[in-house]
Point group: C2
Chain length 810, copies 2
């Protein structure tokens, strides 16, 4: 074990007088209780308080969980409790190594919140046994600091997001302290490495504080960690360079470490309050040096030292279950009993099995208990978003498909006013936009009329809309944007993440984890609903003009489709007014993850705001003005259309309408129906998604057996995936993005992917119920046009005028 730097130690020691020997002994005993409960959760199914000798049959048949990180997590827990009681500061505890679940469960159990939330797990012997049995067990609780754990906004299952979540909770929470343990293994991940830059984005004036605790126990699963084998100077240099003022606490003697940790926390807290006070009274120190703690303690601290002649404590071998033979091996069983009795449970719990009063008294009061803080049950703090009426932002649509507008621009204006309405007196607020430096690129720049980009640096004259007090978060990291927003929402606020569609895949795994969180949260009555997470996917595959194939990827859609239908929503508004209407809906909703897919370039506009609202509410509608069903062509006995043209997404909708127009002009007697789908999940059977259309409604739109040509924003088979279970799904012929792309013209993109108006017409003619008379002529025209396109774009480097300038003429 390397020693902490003497400087840091001295700082701590100076304050020691305030931490009495009695306090220390109490804290150590509380810690023993937490460790005891942790071991018990991992191992025991019976004899929870060791009131009799331990037997093989007391041990669970399957030993699942992680001991190694737990004692460190619990040491911090008891010290934070002390800090909270002394200062009254509300704290959120984020455990990066969330596999130390039993430690956090133990902490919240000891402070009483666990039993309040789960009364069956009571504060007595029966409750302790239930606590043990339920852990990692069928019908019980998972092994991580999951949504089931009171006080958690971070599961710590997929490692890497501890600090992003900490920052997201701290933004606009001026009083809050987020203590965030970062595992030294976790610190190797990309997302965690990228998230130390909090000091560049945290405004001392109106944000709360993040206190990182880098837990250098030296190991991950079986390898040492990079930081575990680095010097204090290296670790300090890394943190200092990013705006932190690290203090080292190190050792394996509990008394010494507890004293140093108490002092380190005390100093850190005082320094944080000092920084904040200065900033809030007009100071402008943009590089205050935020306190951070580096904690070097042994992995599996207080656990078995050696097992079968091999060192366990302080090594990787302590990571999961240090004694694995306890069900059958007498020596292992004896070791386990010794280990558990080393905590002297009889001195920690009363005869009834409740925590002894002097230890119970170490918990803060009421909502200040970390398991009870409303900051970690954000629905309790949330107020619905005060949204302005949409009329102000609506685009004027004199007639469908005749005018162009940047579809995302009015949304920017709406978000501007949401910012304005939710800003608080201290310069904070309850709404934020997160974007990887693409706010203007994505045409949402209206927000800069009321706030700035946030950076803790002095703005230069050449900068635009930059300020330390700005609240638009532009960091070039999809991970940070997504993670900050997640925690901002989980702690009770509202927001949007806007990103290039393709690069939403960078943080796709985080989206999955957030969906999982919300899915399980909904099963817990004590978790109040939080605002939905809305991701605006723009600069889409069809129109990422400056870039190429790498920027063309609608894959997030495929990622979310299989996830919980109670959580996931996918919206494909074809124009600005539908985007407004859907965004309004998403911003009001709770507990969902919404994908909102709309490109930023000038696009044709189709619906007035009123029509848009109706269309969005319907999920999908027949656009009868675009079809030819009403007109008298040939007579079809069943009164059904000859062909249905369906679309979902802005570019597909334009191509579909252009195709419909060609059909109408060339073969007017063909009965064509045009359907637009905006709520993608409506395609799923009713039983499979709350938005799924009833079969009646589905057939009403798509008929029972007419062929349907679908122009789809994403990968074609995503639609087929949804249609399984519908009537005659084989008649749906989907065109969409099929991984053909490069830097080229907009129309060339749809041609390369066989979704152009000409391709759609050709497919419609091929599939139409009745073979239209002039069909062959029209088909020839389409093929000629495709050939003309190929030559034209190569010569003129832009699209043919008839395509470029096309508008709906009907």
């Amino acid at each position: 074990m390397r020693q902490g730097r003497s400087m840091a130690m001295r700082e701590g020691t100076a304050e020691l007088t305030e931490y009495s020997a009695d306090d220390l002994e109490l804290d150590l005993r509380w810690w023993a209780a937490a460790n005891y409960l942790t071991v018990g959760q991992i191992y025991l199914r019976d004899n929870a308080l060791l009131r009799r000798p331990l037997q093989h049959s007391d041990v669970k048949p399957r030993l699942l969980g992680h001991w190694g990180t737990s004692p460190g997590l619990s040491a911090l827990y008891v010290q934070l409790n002390r800090l909270i009681r002394r200062t009254g500061t509300p704290c959120v505890y984020i455990a990066g190594p969330g596999h130390g679940g039993p430690a956090l469960v133990a902490g919240t159990y000891l402070e009483g919140t666990y039993s309040e939330v789960y009364p069956a797990v009571s504060q007595d012997a029966e409750g302790v046994l239930r606590l043990f049995r339920q852990f990692s067990s069928p019908g019980g609780i998972p092994s991580h600091v999951s949504v089931q754990t009171p006080g958690s906004i971070h599961e710590g299952g997929e490692l890497g997001y501890a600090l992003v979540h900490a920052a997201g909770a701290a933004f606009d929470s001026p009083d809050l302290l987020v203590a965030c343990v970062v595992g030294d293994g976790e610190a190797e991940t990309g997302p965690l490495s990228g998230s130390w830059k909090i000091p560049a984005f945290l405004d001392a004036r109106r944000d709360g504080a993040v206190l990182p605790v880098l837990h250098l126990n030296g190991y991950k699963i079986s390898s040492p960690t990079v930081w575990g084998r680095s010097s204090d100077d290296e670790v300090a240099g890394y943190l200092t360079s990013q705006g932190w003022a690290p203090v080292f606490v190190a050792g394996d003697d509990p008394r010494q470490v507890f004293r140093d940790l108490e002092a380190a926390l005390r100093t850190a807290h005082d320094r944080i309050r000092e920084i904040q006070a200065a900033a809030r009274h007009g100071g402008e120190d943009l590089r205050p040096g935020w306190p951070a703690i580096v904690l070097r303690t042994p992995k599996g601290w207080t656990g078995p030292d050696e097992v079968d002649g091999v060192q366990v404590q302080g090594t990787f071998r302590a990571h999961q279950v240090p004694l694995s033979g306890v069900q059958t091996d007498d020596a292992h069983l004896a070791l386990l009993e010794d280990w558990m009795r080393s905590y002297s449970p009889e001195t920690l719990f009363t005869d009834d099995g409740a925590l002894v009063p002097e230890l119970a008294a170490l918990a803060p009061d009421g909502d200040l208990r970390m398991g009870a803080t409303p900051y970690a049950n954000g629905g309790r703090r949330r107020t619905p978003l005060d949204l302005p009426p949409l009329e102000t932002y609506a685009v004027d649509v004199p007639s469908p498909g005749t005018t162009f507008h940047q579809t995302t621009h009015p949304l920017g204006e709406l978000l501007r006013d949401v910012y304005a309405r939710t800003t608080t007196a201290d310069g904070g607020g309850t709404f934020r936009l997160f974007c990887p430096d693409e706010t203007a690129s994505n045409r949402l720049q209206a927000v800069f009329e009321v706030t700035d980009r946030c950076l803790q640096a002095e703005a230069l004259p050449t900068d635009e809309h930059l300020s330390p007090h700005g609240r638009v978060m532009e960091v070039l990291s999809e991970h940070l944007c997504q993670g900050w927003l997640e925690a901002y929402l989980l702690s009770g606020r509202h927001g949007v993440f806007a990103t290039y569609e393709a690069f939403a895949m960078v943080s796709a795994s985080m989206v999955i984890q957030h969906v999982k969180w919300l899915q399980h949260a909904a099963t817990l009555p004590w978790r109040a609903p939080v605002s939905s997470l809305t991701i605006l996917l723009t600069s889409t595959c069809w129109r990422n003009d400056h870039n190429g194939f790498s920027h063309q990827g609608p894959g997030l859609l495929d990622t979310v489709i299989p996830l919980s239908p109670d959580v996931v929503r996918v919206w494909l508004p074809p124009d600005a007014n539908t985007l407004l209407s859907v965004a309004d809906h998403c911003l009001r909703s709770t507990d969902h993850v919404n994908l909102l897919i709309a490109d930023k370039q000038p696009h044709l506009q189709y619906l007035t705001l009123e029509e848009a609202a109706a269309h969005a509410a319907a999920g999908a509608s027949v656009w009868s003005w675009a079809g030819t069903e009403g007109e008298d062509g040939g007579v079809d006995v069943r009164g059904e259309p000859d062909i249905v043209l369906a679309s979902a997404g802005d570019v597909p909708t334009m191509e579909t309408l252009a195709a419909a127009e060609l059909l109408r002009q060339w073969v007017p007697y063909l009965r064509v129906r045009v359907v637009n789908v905006i709520d993608l999940m409506a395609l799923l059977p009713q039983d499979d998604h709350p938005h799924g259309f009833s079969e009646d409604r589905f057939l009403e739109l798509f008929t029972r057996d007419t062929d349907v040509i679908v122009a789809f924003h994403g990968y074609p088979r995503a639609v087929h995936q949804l249609l399984h279970g519908r009537t005659n799904p084989g008649r749906f012929h989907v065109r969409g993005f099929e991984e053909q792309g490069t830097t080229t013209t907009p129309f060339d993109m749809v041609v390369l992917n066989r979704m152009s108006r000409y391709h759609l017409v050709l497919e419609a003619l091929r599939r139409s119920r009745r073979v239209p008379e002039r069909g062959e002529e029209l088909a020839r025209f389409c093929r000629d046009q495709l050939a003309r396109h190929a030559g034209y774009v190569r010569e003129h480097l832009e699209d043919m005028p008839e395509v470029r300038d096309w508008t709906w003429g009907g």
Copy 2:
């Protein structure tokens, strides 16, 4: 512009004598040529060499590309050329800001490789014009440093992977220098932030060197960057703490910057060779301090200073196209002409339009040119992997489904011997395993018999298999594992990435980008095939025993399914011998991305090696020993089975066989066919994937209209997605992972997701062609068993013995 630290400057200046004034002037002129060609690519469609006054009609109709980063990239290019000529060191140039594509295209054009690879883009006036016209144009080349760019192994489209790719190319390439530009915006991403830890994993003895060039041009798209507003001390502290020895080069005077950069590169190169020589002659300095360069130059350097009264050069406004009105605005056109003429093209190109000889002479020779280096066209360096015969590793399978084995363990033994066979005399080699610290957890620990985990730190007595010269890469970062492997392969080597299935999603976007790369690479005859990228997904959703819901996610499957069918392969071997057989196939293959999905826990084994090989080659087979078609039950007129039970994946296969056994025992006269699918893409129609079964073969397996109960490893609708286009796809009823999960028993997982043997039997009875006599009785038994399970696991915390101990009895 902040000044570089004087210390660094002095170091540089000391060496200046070797860089003559003439050399400097030549380099500046070469740079002017590169910048000229960059601007020309972005703007011109005609009048390429400005032999007449510029006209609006000379300008492209669509101005697409990125100027801002380009001059910095080109400055480094010419300086690297000088370094290569002086030292003979082979270099790979990685451009993190790959949007500076035109700069790298210009560099390779000026050195001649571009024209060798693309003869139509010749070294004359016509070639220059073609070079300009093709850029970002239909039928031309994309705007990034894409696969089309000679010398590139990194597109730089999705930002964040520059340094991981640099390291991957450097591993086991002892002579190579990888110069890697990192954008200051890119430096904000998680993956890039996580990848500075190269010095902890780079072995000076047998690896090449990475020379990072952090390009602090101060801006990303429209915001300043975090590092752009940090002090030199902060940046230096960050790099130093991670094992780098940074040298600063800063300024906006080209002469001064070129002199300093020349000196910095010279010093860096010498220092690298010194470090390597020491290590290769027995020294063991694990913290040598690898050189790194920090380059602070203006964004859009040498471009328009002010446009319309607004500062452009040195600001974010130079990011893309600084003059946007050139097609119509005379003033902008004049600015463009002035700008381009400022490079004096008439002094750079001959009358014929070729580069003047004294500048052409600045290029290194032959394969030392960065556009021609075989390190960046790895297929040219690759030798097929020398794989041992599989017999040695095969698991003994006395009869199907009666013995248990950890499926991944024999694969570990195979990989051990692959390591052994490919190790070179210097301690390097051509094969590596990359894994986020889960090699042993994933049961591949046999590799440690021949090599160690790599860490540049002294091993402690408590460590296992750790050494600075180890070649198993265990870093807790899926991004690093994936990215290192990508570049290791692209530079001509072999490898495997083994990861927990769920967390493969962390680097899913990188998988997508790699598939895109391979897809386009295959269209370029000059790119020789590289080894396939094989990802072993283990610790799967069904058996992530220690963990919970967050660790249960088969989503990578859904991510790759829609990608290029020429690249993507998905394998679901049910047992150890099939895994061996498939792995052998994958390791021999080129230009694919293989997902290999197999759990690590003890599983039932079914096939001998010979049977496994036949099964893997077939892609899917009827397991007639498990079905009841041969036995005489009732007579079905069509001779077809009453029901087909199909499975894909290890756990689904076990449940399917257990279901088949129940049917065989209870309703023996039911004609049940059992099919096992190992090559998932075989389900796709033949036209949609090279592995897709012909319809005949498909019907042979699955009949034309018998219902098929599919037990599937992943999300059920993934299968439906594949089946569209097959005969009667509606008769396929798929069970799989449906996002029900937590820390629980293995059988509880299949019950929660309705894929248990009992669920499969119930579904088979419901769907069977003939209604079996004792069917209702069997159905009752299944429902009872499910009820019994629910009670049993809650009481006993493990699965019912009849399930836990089940083996195939037939």
